[in-house]
């Protein structure tokens, strides 16, 4: 099973790089959907078949793999935008930073005092790398919609970490995180529309007009 895990996690990390390096929003959202769907497999592959892991997997798959991407795709259809123009830091430098962050995540995970059964495998470094990628996206992109993608990737990273603990973590906590995410996406959706209406753009830079 550990091979399957590793393959899934490697693909997840590659998808991280893809979102960092791509300017096309639809492709980004699809990549995140794929990432979410892959991650939904993890509870089952790590912990085996059980009611708990199945529910987690199903919930994650519907939300991360289907529902939220569908919401986002609908949103960009409405605001009619396809590409991330002029990010704060260019695509290639971001990609480079993402590589650095991933390396840092692997180094850091190596030094952490983990339980023996968690020291092997890619779960911890992949989780950290995904979280850092999400953060990078949040920081470097201007469009609200890319920021939502950033949040999603951040949450994916947290989800991977949660899988480590899912035997100990009650379902309620995971459900709470998913709910948070859903609410965050909704709020961002509303903000998106509002920014679009008020400023005739969905560029979050313009929000600094609200400073003080």
């Amino acid at each position: 099973m550990s091979d399957v895990n590793s393959v899934i996690l490697l693909v997840v990390i590659l998808l991280n790089f893809f979102t960092l390096g791509s300017a096309r929003l639809v492709a980004c959202i699809r990549a995140v959907a794929l990432q979410g769907a892959l991650l939904a497999l993890l509870p089952v592959t790590v912990h085996g078949f059980s009611g708990h892991s199945l529910i987690l997997a199903l919930g994650a798959f519907t939300l991360k793999g289907l529902f939220i991407p569908w919401l986002l795709l609908r949103a960009i259809r409405e605001v009619r935008i396809r590409r991330e123009m002029e990010p704060l830091i260019g695509l290639v430098p971001t990609l480079f930073l993402g590589v650095l962050a991933t390396v840092a995540a692997f180094l850091f995970a190596d030094r952490l005092p983990l339980l023996l059964e968690h020291q092997e495998g890619l779960l911890v470094p992949a989780s950290l790398a995904t979280m850092l990628t999400g953060f990078l996206l949040l920081m470097t992109r201007r469009k609200a919609i890319t920021q939502v993608v950033g949040y999603l990737i951040l949450e994916n990273g947290i989800f991977v970490f949660g899988v480590l603990l899912s035997t100990a973590m009650p379902l309620v906590v995971e459900a709470g995180v998913l709910l948070d995410l859903l609410v965050a996406v909704f709020v961002m959706g509303i903000v998106l529309n509002q920014i679009n209406r008020e400023f005739a753009t969905i560029n979050t830079e313009r929000l600094s007009a609200l400073k003080e």
Binding site: R111, F135, Q147, E205, S208
Partner: protein, 664 residues
């Protein structure tokens, strides 16, 4: 038992406060609910205080959701001292306040005010009984916030808002140091419960000094210790009078409670801690009373006198620490007994004076001494009570102020005679300085009584002034009789303080204290009372026998003397103003003197802002504020930048945890 009684009192207060809040706009109902609840809660509260004063600590425990421990309340002898003051003064202030605010109640909702009033009383009771650091900090903040809202009662006035903000700032600065104090202490003791804090007694001298200084500044801010007193002269005049009475009478004392509590945990204090406390105390006393002499605002004058009295209490505490370090148990016990008794005494007579000042304010509508005058004729009962309070505060023998100051003098003289060489110098010096403070206090209150009550009215409002209702006078009368009772039976009051003294003073001190002829001031007071009353009876008899003739006061040859030619408040303070105050402390006098030979209109005005606030704290904080403006570029108003901050913080924490793991 004691803790359960306290819990009952707290529940009654809470219920009264909530009922007042629900009553909202029906102001009379709100006043009655809250004042009634405070009166009822005082009974179990006093029971708890008296049981606590017997010495056996009673503890109440409950589970708590907050991390870091359980909910622990403990009523011991030290809590008892302060609980007694709280539950004596609070119901009287509530009773007074209900009548005092009646006129305002028609115009505005009083529910919120009364909610915070009962909240303040409950929070003070919790502060002196909390036995767990987190609980203590929580109720301490609660007390600060409740009193902030009480101070901001007349929030429509800009000066009141300013005073309330200053108070809130001072509270926060002090509170921040207390957080540091208790977290550090909890870390050293390995637990946040006060019963484990005795482990601090093995702390390093350096750490103990740090804890002591944190406690001194943190609690000193609340207590009005010089030079941290700056909020007091602003907040007390701004608050309604019953709130000023409660704040000055007992809330300020919670700072002293805190310092005493911390001192019971720390290792034996070196002598210089005692000298530091006593030095700050006497400086504050002199500073407070000197500035009280030049205030024309009645309540501001009383607020400065609070600073003086707090200084005297700190002097007593410092004296006892000093004596303890030098191995003089009797002197330590005298200093401590004087300080604790002065806590009670000050609660009684300052409560009385603030309520009395509120009575004058109620009758004349002004706090300005220059607009009063001649009030003794119009308000004979209020005037008599105010004179009684003034006599008590200037330590005239048949009243209680004398007893505590007498104990302090005894302690100081004990030190001066028993110690030898340089060690005897500080107590000897302090005797003289304390006497100077006493003389200045006499000047201040002669001026206050003379300008406000005697002479002729100086404003139309003072002419038409009339007595308030019985519920304004009754609390003051009760306070004055308590003052008289302690003055006449000092032995009984000291008997109540036996358990707290045994808890705080070095072993053997209580026994030594019993050997002091405590009957001395008591019987002296009886003798004096007898003399004074005989003299008064004689005078009345003589007056009856000889009919009086009333005539004009000699007007120095002026044909038409007017009330404006009498001594003004500033004029009476000329001695203090020009001769005794150093130039830095002198109030600013504006206006010009007449320059020509012929009469012409000129104006002179005096403004006495607090020198420490104006010359030290305001420039300091203004300078800090200017420097901090440079940090504004951190606030870019861009989400990406804020996210970058979070990212960098997260990365730094990860690195730090790696470093800590590597180190550990």
């Amino acid at each position: 038992m004691a803790a359960h009684l306290l819990l009952l009192a707290l529940l009654i207060l809470l219920a009264g406060g909530l009922a007042a809040l629900l009553a909202g706009r029906r102001s009379a109902l709100a006043s009655n609910c809250a004042a009634g609840a405070t009166l009822v809660a005082a009974l179990p509260g006093l029971g708890a205080a008296l049981l606590g004063l017997r010495g056996a600590p009673a503890t109440l425990e409950a589970a708590w959701q907050v991390p870091g421990g359980r909910l622990l309340l403990s009523v011991d002898a030290l809590s008892g001292v302060f609980l007694l003051a709280i539950f004596v003064l609070a119901p009287l202030c509530a009773l007074y306040g209900a009548a005092y605010l009646k006129a305002q109640g028609a115009e505005r909702a009083l529910g919120g005010h009364w909610f915070f009033f009962t909240g303040l009383v409950a929070a003070m009771a919790l502060v002196v009984t909390a036995a767990q650091a987190l609980l203590f900090l929580a109720v301490w903040e609660l007390m600060s916030l409740a009193s902030f809202f009480l101070v901001a009662f007349d929030h429509r006035l800009a000066e009141v808002r300013r005073a309330a903000w200053l108070y809130l700032l001072a509270c926060h600065l002090g509170g921040a140091l207390l957080f540091a104090l208790f977290l550090l202490a909890g870390d050293l003791a390995g637990s946040l419960e006060f019963r484990d804090f005795h482990r601090l007694a093995e702390a390093d001298p350096g750490v103990a000094l740090l804890l002591f200084l944190l406690a001194l500044v943190g609690f000193g801010t609340k207590a009005g210790l010089f030079p941290l007193h700056v909020w007091l002269p602003e907040a007390h005049p701004a608050a309604p009078s019953h709130v000023s009475a409660l704040m000055s009478g007992v809330m300020v004392k919670t700072g002293i409670y805190g310092l005493l509590r911390v001192l019971t945990w720390l290792p034996a204090a070196p002598a210089w801690w005692g000298l530091l406390l006593a030095g700050l105390g006497i400086l504050g006393a002199l500073y407070g009373i000197a500035l009280a002499a030049v205030q024309r605002d009645l309540k501001r004058c009383l607020a400065y006198s609070t600073i003086e009295n707090v200084g005297i209490i700190f002097l007593g505490l410092g004296l006892s620490l000093y004596a303890r370090a030098l191995g003089l148990p009797l002197m330590a016990a005298l200093g401590l007994a004087g300080a604790l008794l002065h806590v009670w005494n000050h609660a009684l007579f300052k409560g009385l004076l603030f309520l009395g000042a509120g009575g004058l304010l109620h009758a004349t509508g002004t706090r300005d001494l220059n607009h009063m005058g001649g009030l003794l004729k119009r308000l004979p009962l209020s005037g008599a009570l105010l004179i009684g309070g003034s006599l008590a505060i200037v330590a005239v023998p048949p009243l209680n102020g004398f007893v505590s100051e007498w104990l302090l003098y005894l302690g100081l003289l004990q030190g001066a005679t028993q110690l030898s060489g340089a060690a005897a110098l500080p107590p000897l010096l302090l005797v003289g300085l304390l006497a100077l403070t006493g003389a200045l206090a006499l000047l201040v209150f002669v001026r206050l009584v003379g300008i406000a009550l005697l002479g002729v009215p100086r404003s139309p409002a003072a002419v038409t002034a009339h007595e308030g209702g019985a519920s304004l006078l009754l609390p003051q009368a009760l306070l004055l009789s308590a003052c008289l009772a302690i003055g006449l039976f000092p032995g009984a009051a000291l008997g109540l303080l036996a358990a707290p003294l045994a808890l705080l003073a070095p072993p053997g001190a209580s026994a030594a204290l019993l050997a002091v002829p405590l009957a001395g001031p008591g019987s002296l007071a009886w003798l004096l009372l007898a003399l004074v009353s005989t003299a008064a009876l004689l005078l009345v008899g003589l007056r009856r026998r000889r009919p009086r003739t009333a005539g004009e006061t000699w007007g120095c040859g002026y044909a038409l003397p007017s009330a404006r030619m009498t001594y003004s408040a500033e004029g009476f303070a000329e001695l203090a103003h020009n001769r005794m105050l150093p130039a830095v402390l002198r109030p600013a006098v504006g206006g010009a003197l007449p320059a020509e030979l012929f009469p012409q209109p000129v104006g002179r005005a005096q403004a006495s802002a607090d020198p420490v606030l104006g010359r030290l704290f305001q420039p300091l904080f203004a300078g800090l504020g200017e420097r901090c403006v440079r940090l504004r570029w951190l606030q870019q108003g861009k989400p990406a930048v804020y996210l970058a901050y979070i990212f960098l913080t997260g990365a730094a924490l990860m690195l730090w945890s790696l470093w800590a793991l590597g180190g550990g």
